[in-house]
């Protein structure tokens, strides 16, 4: 698990990065909405200009093309089965699939671009300003902070099991992995208690405390 997955390029200093995060989020929502609403015929000739627009933004943002392409391609395992299904069972399935692919490809491209040019904390601050529920902001922040840490704890336990058993395999693995997850939950619970102590010592009284 690469730890710098998210904030790797979002900390750059370019005109795109300096744009207000709210504007960027709204732009992407609007773009994806347009892609969703536009009828299939219009998609075919608006796809290219939209792609060009995104590429121009990408160039200005100085985020490596490889990074964006790699992350955009996570869509493939979802698109391929749909294309296969449609081509076999639907009339004009291929052209239908093509439009679908363009829609989702451009949407995901813009989403990848958004998170590559906007810090996580800025997205949270913007959502907070838009009156997104505070409790959700807190959960999301904790998740972002502790997800990598828990992943590390989990990987450590799996490595230890593999070392002892001389490799994974066999039917026992289901049980062992479940045991690892049970321990991970217990550890998370205990950490939550300690984190709560740390919060109390800094004046937390249950009413948030996020700026």
């Amino acid at each position: 698990m690469r730890h710098s997955f998210w904030d790797h390029f979002s900390g750059l200093d370019t005109p795109v990065h300096r744009l207000s995060p709210g504007v960027k989020i709204l732009f992407v929502i609007l773009l994806v909405l347009i892609l969703t609403i536009l009828p299939g015929d219009y998609i075919s000739f608006s796809a290219l200009p939209l792609l060009l627009l995104l590429i121009i933004i990408l160039i200005f943002s100085r985020v490596p093309v490889k990074h964006v392409v790699k992350r955009t391609l996570v869509i493939l395992p979802l698109i391929i089965p749909v294309i296969v299904l449609n081509s076999i069972f639907m009339e004009s399935g291929l052209s239908h699939s093509l439009i679908l692919s363009v829609r989702s490809f451009l949407s995901i491209f813009s989403l990848v671009l958004l998170v590559s040019v906007t810090r996580f904390s800025d997205i949270m601050k913007t959502l907070s300003r838009w009156h997104f529920p505070r409790i959700m902001i807190m959960i999301l922040s904790f998740m972002y902070r502790y997800f990598f840490l828990l992943t590390g704890e989990m990987e450590k336990m799996i490595r230890a099991v593999k070392l002892r058993s001389g490799g994974t395999g066999g039917s026992g693995i289901f049980k062992i992995y479940s045991q690892i997850l049970a321990i991970l939950f217990i550890k998370s619970y205990e950490r939550a208690e300690r984190v709560y102590h740390a919060m109390l010592m800094r004046g937390y009284d249950g009413n948030g405390g996020l700026q």
Binding site: M1, F5, W6, I29, V32, L33, L35, T36, I37, V74, I75, L78, V82, L85, N86, I88, F89, M90, H96, L100, V102, R103, S104, F105, S107, I108, L111, V115, I123, P133, I135, M136, M138, I139, L140, F142, M143, R145, Y146, F147, L149, L150, T151, M154, T168, F174, Y177, S178, I180, L181, A182, I183, L184, F185, S188, Y189, A192, V195, Y196, D205
Partner: protein, 206 residues
């Protein structure tokens, strides 16, 4: 199960988002009023746990693997509305961090995973839990995944993204397997928590 942007039509997006948004509103209102402050970091850490657990591939025969969604598990541990907020956060962060799911389809994905699995799954569990804790958890986890897959298929079919019959068959058959895996893993984890720290099964359910 995470539907990407571009796969759903506007009417489907609007109706699923309406369901998800209203449940979000209800959950936030109720939790804001009822939870004790120490519950906030617990929910945050639980959400990080669910997010992490979803990454673990459980190897099954023939090189395939199943993953835990964890929605029913976390609802059984913390209650349906807590489970709803935790899985909703997981859906949102997944869309941003890994592009699993989308920004406009978030409402639909929240409905499939947080409403159907975390909330409905919890009430399925409640039907059985007094007498049959373990089998109740299995049935709840299995049927939650299965029902969510069916609803997901309906959303995609109504949007015209996949063909009716073949689409439904493909979704349900692939999730039959995932549902059984979800059931087994959920039950095994609950059993292990009971053995190691039984107090955690008695946390307040909200």
């Amino acid at each position: 199960m995470h539907i990407p942007d571009g796969f759903l039509s506007l009417p489907v997006l609007i109706s699923t988002s309406a369901v998800s948004a209203s449940l979000l509103y209800i959950s936030v209102k109720k939790l804001d009023k009822e939870i004790r402050p120490e519950r906030i970091p617990l929910m945050g850490l639980s959400a990080a746990f669910v997010f992490t657990a979803q990454l673990l591939s459980f190897p099954v025969f023939g090189g395939t693997s199943v993953h835990l969604t964890g929605a029913v598990l976390i609802s059984i541990l913390l209650g349906p509305l807590s489970g709803f907020l935790i899985t909703t956060s997981a859906v949102l962060l997944q869309a941003f961090l890994f592009q699993h799911g989308g920004i406009i389809t978030a409402g639909a994905n929240i409905m499939n995973i947080a409403v159907i699995q975390a909330v409905l799954g919890y009430y399925i569990f409640k039907i059985f839990s007094n007498k049959l804790y373990i089998s109740g958890a299995f049935i709840a986890a299995f049927s939650a995944v299965f029902i969510a897959a069916a609803i997901c298929a309906v959303e995609l079919i109504v949007s015209g993204t996949i063909p009716l019959k073949a689409g439904m068959i493909a979704m349900l058959s692939s999730h039959l397997f995932a549902g059984v895996g979800e059931g087994f893993i959920t039950v095994l984890i609950l059993g292990m928590i009971k053995k190691l720290k039984p107090g955690l099964l008695e946390l307040k359910k909200i």
